[in-house]
């Protein structure tokens, strides 16, 4: 009984899968995914080339124009030092996205190593690694972050490390479940029957089939990592000021929620929009991939 399987094991052809080419599938392109993809393009441009979208400096203070509501001069308003909120959000995109991607990537790499080792390594290895995972589960992400930041100080790198290490056990469990399911399905036996080496089976069948159902989880994880970074900023573990990283913006805006609501509401919306877009695109990508195994 695979009680620890979260997502569905690889399953046979769906009777309602569209027949035909990629073009046919694209014609059925859902609107939600299209909108999400456009938003993501905008976000990636903001991350890679912020000056294109917001030419000013995110650090330039203007003490006489502090706490201004959104206006033509400052389309999203200004903060307590007179800095333009729109510019800060755009310039913070890169850091936040980096934390989101980096932390999830670190988590997945660690989880992959542990999960594959547990799933394929035999009962003893599985038992040891599963117990080790149980131990790591006893350390909430928060505690890990507190320790990592205490040693290395607050920065984008420490955030990535802390969130990555803290969330890895959850993904490791999932990957282990998936690997076990694949191992118990027909792939390995049929591969062996045809005479393939174990390494090839691993590469061609086990890893792809174990990971494919997790694409959606990965993109969900990106959004979650960005949200985690915001939570860490709240506890004083975030990136050092005056960084425009979204978690830091969210934390700084908290005091002003009743007097300058735009400082707290708008960065929060930015985080939600990015998480939503990444997850939507991820879910669509997953559907495409699963349809492609037909």
């Amino acid at each position: 009984m695979t009680a620890s399987t979260l997502v569905s094991a690889p399953r046979p052809t769906r009777p309602s899968a569209p027949i035909g080419s990629l073009r046919a599938r694209l014609r059925n392109f859902p609107l939600a995914a299209a909108v999400a993809a456009v938003v993501l393009v905008f976000v990636i441009v903001a991350a890679v080339w912020p000056d294109l979208l917001a030419p000013g400096s995110p650090f330039a203070i203007n003490l006489s124009a502090a706490l201004q509501p959104p206006s033509p001069a400052h389309i999203l308003g200004t903060d307590e030092s007179g800095r333009d909120l729109y510019t800060r959000i755009i310039h913070g995109t890169g850091q936040s996205l980096l934390i989101g991607l980096g932390a999830t990537a670190v988590a997945f790499v660690v989880a992959l190593l542990l999960g594959v080792a547990a799933g394929l390594g035999g009962r003893v290895a599985d038992a040891i690694i599963s117990r080790a995972l149980d131990v790591f589960f006893a350390f909430p992400v928060l505690l890990v972050a507190l320790l990592v930041v205490a040693i290395y100080g607050p920065s984008v790198t420490t955030q990535i490390l802390a969130i990555g290490i803290g969330t890895a056990p959850g993904y490791a469990r999932m990957i282990r479940g998936q690997v076990l399911a694949v191992r118990n399905s027909g792939y390995v036996e049929s591969g062996r029957a045809v005479g393939h080496r174990y390494g090839r089976i691993l590469r061609q069948h086990i890893v792809p089939n174990a990971l494919r159902p997790l694409v959606g989880v990965f993109t969900l994880g990106i959004g979650q990592s960005i949200v985690w970074a915001a939570g860490l900023a709240f506890l004083g573990l975030g990136v050092a000021p005056p960084s425009p990283e979204w978690g830091a913006l969210l934390d700084a805006g908290r005091a002003f929620i009743t007097t300058a609501w735009w400082l707290e509401v708008i960065p929060g919306i930015a985080i939600i929009v990015v998480a939503l877009s990444v997850t939507t695109v991820g879910r669509y990508a997953q559907q495409l991939l699963e349809g492609a195994t037909d």
């Binding site: 131990v135 969900l220 915001a230 709240f234």
Partner: protein, 332 residues
């Protein structure tokens, strides 16, 4: 799974086997659980002992609100009291020895037994966590039932709501709820405390993102099961849609959620730290933060052991729940 086919005697035999099945799974879990507790405690000890900076200086500085270097003379009494100068292996030995006798030690900062400190603050956090989990379940089930496999627009809205909920930063949500419902509308008290009504906003703060997360897994499973042949045949037999959803599909759909619940507990604890801070609730969150800030090893270890214990227990409960709920374990 053996089943007797004698009418009227089916149930007892089936449930006896099931109970044995459950027990056989629990006992090894409990044993390995104890191992997990010790491993977690040891890891905490290592982490705390290896942090940079001198622990005695930290304690003395915090007593006076200063951040300076101290002379060995000033630190001597503290080092003597807590044995900080002994070699690491000796300190570890003392530490494990204390745990084996069930003694969690005394807080460096508060001079009180750790068990007392944790005991006082444990219930509010547990109440909040469990309430949040239950609330998340209610939200998930209601939302999934209402919006899965309906008209395209409803389904899309349903999915979007879940994804947005999962993407809400917890303290952002908490502050917004506080400002709107407590300070603005005055429906709830600003200072949560330990009252029941003060539990509502913090519980929602934690439950909504979790419901978004669990909802996605539940919805996927729900939709998959809804497309299965047995549902079609039930509908052909004349069963109404509501009946189908509640009686047949839901049982399957909640399985991934049950598995998630075990993991959710840890995530909820981190969230509880944040919720307690925003809503001025007492609990282990503030204790943990303050203990980590003062490198109060006994308290941090105590909390880690507690969380590990909760995990072991929660996973056992999840396993049992799985066996009870999973319809595939019944005869069809």
């Amino acid at each position: 799974m053996t089943t007797a086919t004698i009418d009227g005697l089916e149930r007892p035999e089936r449930s006896a086997t099931r109970v044995l099945f459950i027990v056989r799974r629990i006992v090894p879990r409990m044993l390995s659980g104890v191992l997990v507790l010790f491993a977690a405690a040891s890891l905490t000890f290592l982490a705390q002992a290896l942090l940079p900076g001198d622990r005695a200086t930290l304690l003395l500085n915090q007593q006076t609100g200063q951040t300076i270097q101290r002379t060995a003379q000033e630190l001597a009494p503290i080092n003597a009291e807590f044995g900080f100068n002994a070699p690491l292996i000796v300190q570890y030995g003392r530490f494990i020895g204390g745990l084996l006798t069930g003694n969690l030690g005394t807080s460096y900062q508060l001079h009180k037994p750790v068990a007392e400190i944790i005991g006082e603050q444990f219930m509010p956090t547990l109440t909040l966590t469990v309430t949040a989990l239950l609330l998340a379940w209610v939200l998930t089930i209601v939302w999934t039932l209402l919006t899965a496999r309906r008209r395209r627009l409803v389904s899309t809205v349903g999915t979007a709501a879940e994804t947005i909920a999962a993407g809400l930063p917890q303290y952002w949500l908490g502050v917004v709820l506080l400002v709107v419902f407590a300070i603005g509308l005055k429906w709830f008290p600003v200072i949560g405390g330990t009252s029941v009504i003060g539990l509502v906003l913090p519980a929602f703060t934690l439950a909504i993102p979790l419901a978004g997360f669990m909802g996605q897994a539940t919805r996927t499973e729900f939709e998959k099961q809804y497309d299965q042949p047995f549902v079609t045949s039930a509908r052909m037999r004349g069963m109404g849609d509501v009946q189908i959803r509640l009686r047949h599909v839901l049982r399957h759909a909640v399985l991934p959620g049950i598995t998630l619940s075990g993991w959710a507990l840890g995530s909820l604890f981190s969230g509880a730290v944040i919720a307690e801070s925003v809503f001025a609730r007492p609990g282990l969150g503030t204790v943990l933060l303050s203990a980590v800030n003062s490198r109060d090893l006994p308290v941090v270890t105590g909390i880690v052991i507690l969380i590990a214990l909760l995990y072991v227990v929660a996973n056992i409960i999840v396993d049992i729940a799985y066996v009870i709920v999973d319809p595939r374990l019944r005869t069809s």
